[in-house]
Symmetry: C2
Subunit: 557 residues, 2 copies
């Protein structure tokens, strides 16, 4: 029997920001007991995944080994850590462990998909521990932009792993536990073999700023604003909601929350008892009656999402409320790369309405929830890990983070999704490369990233489609003309003639002279018609469209 | 006969960054003589204009009045000011006036499209003047990120307009004339009625920095880099090319330019005599023989364009050259909003190759070519215009710029594309709203933004397409089954069955029970089949696909 080994396998989040999913295993090779940390999603974009709802990690490797999974741990309730739970849990069916606030969200996600909420076990933070198989796991509270974010202390027979989750070193996080240097030092003193660590902000060379620094600037901004004030931030940033609401309340304004996600998060915070004194909230029906200079709205949609409250307000009336000349709209948020165009569109729509738009202004009205480079250094100093494995970041983040660790004399290794590391010895070794990809939730169906479905959509979206229909009679002779229908293509081409008619004339001419062998053979005919259409299209409109040929043979009936 | 009036009509660039096109007119209403300033393009994106090559201003208003156009003036050779010239000139056929460097580019653009290069007249800067109709126009050199950028001094019987073009107040622009405060004061002293002014950087509250400040940091960076150094910037930023090449040369490196646009711009700069001492350049064939620590490449593709040299190098070998561990790639550029994902993808590809990626680092390796807020204030002080009309900017920029002018006691008006202002009196008046839009160059065809062609492509790209084919016999009875073909849709749905087969079964069932009246009526049948397909699709895959029904009636033959 082979020696037991300790393995680490990222299935999402290592090589990207978002879609976090990490696996640890301990035991003899091929028979390791496994735990899963986080089941997150990432979001689609028009450039690569048009029409897709959500992007999930490809967990086929885990699914094939579901009997070896002892537990799923959730570090916190952000979508990129729990968003895939409802979709993927039935493939794993392991018990889910997390803290209370995360548990409220996790249960909702399971139950929405018809799975039992009892699959979630709520755990108190360290020193409480969960023993599952060879793993003893404790939740160490860390500050982040959502309540009850946690690092995981994972003790194994091969040593201790500190899995950071998403975190910052915030002495005043407004909601939840402040950074606890003493606890970190204790954990380090007990000996940390591996630090698996958040890398998203490794390029930020300034020390991270505290959530509590925003209270004063936000209070000043809201107090000085003449008309209605509307602020947006991530709904899950409960601390920010509190700070914004308090700023509104301090300025004598009634505060109203808009957006489903906002209300759900506040309810979850209340249910789990993490919500501090929140100023009284009025419903939208009451808000419409409040004079605008006495009103503050806190709304969803900071990333420009088209259906969220921010976008709705930029377009006009929303739930009876409307922004006007002299009102102020505040983005208490950072625009995630890729969302700039949508956010800018909204800013301009507000500008057209005469609304004053304020964004984070170099950090005055927003701070990040992640540890910056000096903070990452401090964590390494406190925990003194032998090995640093950067996680949660694009390749460039992981690489820079590994360099940072190496510069301080630690061993580090860049492991991206699908790269299994053996962490048993003093130096991490690449054990195996797992084939892994992404899964798209498209409508309600699951589609593999490599299935070609989205590729076909992208091609139609870029190139347009020509649809050719031809009926052949019992003698394999064309019955009437071939038809060409254009979808998403210019109606007239270079010659100024109708493009579909030019195509049909050229198809007719082709069918006049085509040999009998081609007419008898579906594949040959299809190929010949496609080639012809592409060639004519290039001449007429300078594009190579997608072509679909529908042949109907009456003889086949 | 009505009084003569002075009008201003932006057709592009006012309400957006890019696609600059402005019209001035003087004369009796409806019979004004017209001049056009700039004919620029803007660039498509996957979110709104997939597969489109270029976006051009809709100049139908001008086209209908081509006989009244006395001239086209070009302020400088950036694509967002001259990119539409080759496409749109034949609709206007007016003489084109510009400075020498711009003229080289403008002639190329005309000749590429088969139009005469003689349509371009090269003009020397102020005090030389062009008299066309009621307009006397002088080119006032301004500093910008391309050689020979110019403001236009447009004297009319109703007063002087200073049309800023794109500019910054740079005392050391490396290539071309430095900012000339004395000239500006003189022009102002002669009396400026209207300042039409670049607004792109109005939100930047710092004084603009000079191109010349980059020489030292770039020299230090290149000198300290261990391996090959590759730098990208906009090809048209000839000053930056010079600074980069000099940094390479100073470090004892051979310098090689890669990318067609790069070579074209350097050739244009040479031809027009604006290129100062450029270090010797070696061709790619020679570059492959140079040891990497002695080599510097300057390449196209700073915005992540997939076919440009930067993207090619991130994917592997390009013209025999390949980046490796220890090499440095420098983005001496700013990423334009919307291009972030593409640029980040390239940064990560370089990271995977072990290449050190350096970006502008808070301005150390890049400066903007546009005037910041304090610079805009200085220009107003120098020119002392009665009226400030903000141009070249999104709505939020125009609005903030107008506020800036008003705060200094000037009259201002936000005029967006299609909004004609009467500038005859002391206060600008809105004269008319012109219906204007955008035109897409799609392949080689022109498509109106409102024609629905791109909308159809977007829908197919988002929703996928179901193609239904049905043949009806002489008695309006289905001949065989209806077929369903899926394009860009999941192959299996909720039930786990083949989605196309589910559709075909439901179509068969529908055709069994459908009434004769529907079968006889193409529109009714088409509508009923579409509705059925959408309904089944929502049930099976949770999506509403596009549906195209092809009905073939044998009786119709």
């Amino acid at each position: 029997m082979s020696e037991a080994r300790l393995i680490y396998l990222p299935l999402g989040g290592a090589g990207e920001i978002g879609m976090n999913c990490y696996v640890y295993g301990y035991g003899p090779e091929g028979r390791e007991r496994l735990i899963v940390v986080d089941l997150g999603v990432t979001f689609p974009d028009m450039e690569t995944t048009p029409g897709v709802e959500l992007i999930l990690p490809d967990i086929s490797w885990l699914e094939a080994r579901a009997d070896r999974i002892d537990a799923i741990f959730l570090t916190h309730a952000h979508e990129d850590h729990v968003g895939a739970l409802g979709h993927l849990w039935p493939k794993l069916r392991a018990q889910v462990y997390c803290r209370c606030f995360t548990g409220v969200i996790a249960k909702l996600k399971l139950e929405e998909h018809g799975h039992p909420g009892t699959a979630v076990t709520v755990v108190e933070p360290r020193p409480e521990a969960v023993q599952v198989g060879p793993f003893r796991v404790q939740f160490q509270p860390v500050a982040h932009s959502i309540p009850e974010s946690s690092a995981l202390i994972i003790d194994t027979p091969a040593g201790r792993i500190f899995h950071s989750g998403d975190f910052k070193l915030d002495p005043g996080p407004v909601v939840g536990e402040p950074h606890d240097p003493k606890a970190m030092a204790e954990i380090g003193a007990e000996g940390v073999k591996v630090l698996t660590c958040d890398s998203t902000n490794v390029f930020n060379t300034h020390e991270g700023r505290s959530e509590s620094t925003l209270a004063e600037p936000l209070r000043d901004l809201v107090a000085a604003a003449p008309g209605m004030v509307v602020a947006t931030t991530f709904a899950s940033n409960v601390a920010r909601l509190v700070t914004l609401a308090q700023a509104g309340h301090a300025a004598g304004r009634s505060v109203c929350l808009l957006g489903r996600a906002m209300k759900r998060m506040v309810a979850a915070a209340e249910e789990s008892g993490v919500l501090p004194a929140f100023p009284p909230i009025i419903p939208p029906e009451a808000a419409v009656e409040v004079p605008r200079q006495n009103l503050m709205l806190i709304v969803t949609g900071s990333q420009g999402e088209r259906r969220a409250a921010t976008a709705q307000l930029s377009r006009g009336k929303y739930l009876g409320l409307e922004m006007k000349e002299g009102d102020t709209f505040l983005f208490s948020s950072k625009t995630i790369p890729g969302n700039e165009r949508g956010v800018i569109r909204i800013m301009n729509a507000f500008s057209e309405r005469g609304v004053e738009v304020v964004d984070d202004h170099g950090g005055l009205y927003h701070v990040s929830g992640h540890a910056n480079r000096p903070d990452l250094e401090r964590v390494q100093e406190a925990l003194k890990p032998q090995i640093v494995i950067p996680m949660h970041g694009e390749h460039r983040h992981l690489r820079a983070h590994a360099r940072l660790a190496e510069a301080r004399g630690r061993i580090s290794e860049v492991a991206t999704n699908g790269m299994m590391l053996d962490l048993t010895g003093d130096v991490p070794k690449v054990a195996e490369y797992i084939e892994t990809s992404r899964v798209y939730l498209d409508g309600t169906a699951m589609v593999g990233a490599m299935d070609g479905v989205i590729r076909d959509r992208l091609r139609m979206g870029m190139n347009g489609l020509v649809l050719v229909t031809l009926i052949l009679d019992e003698d394999d002779q064309p019955l009437g003309e071939a038809w060409a229908e254009l979808l998403g293509l210019p109606k007239t081409g270079r010659t100024g003639r109708n493009f579909a008619e030019v195509l049909e004339a050229d198809l007719a001419e082709f069918l006049d002279r085509v040999d009998a062998r081609t007419l008898r053979d579906d594949d040959r005919l299809d190929e010949a018609l496609r080639r012809l259409v592409r060639q004519v299209a290039v001449e007429e409109v300078g594009k190579k469209p997608e072509v679909t040929v529908v042949l109907s043979r009456l003889s086949a009936e």
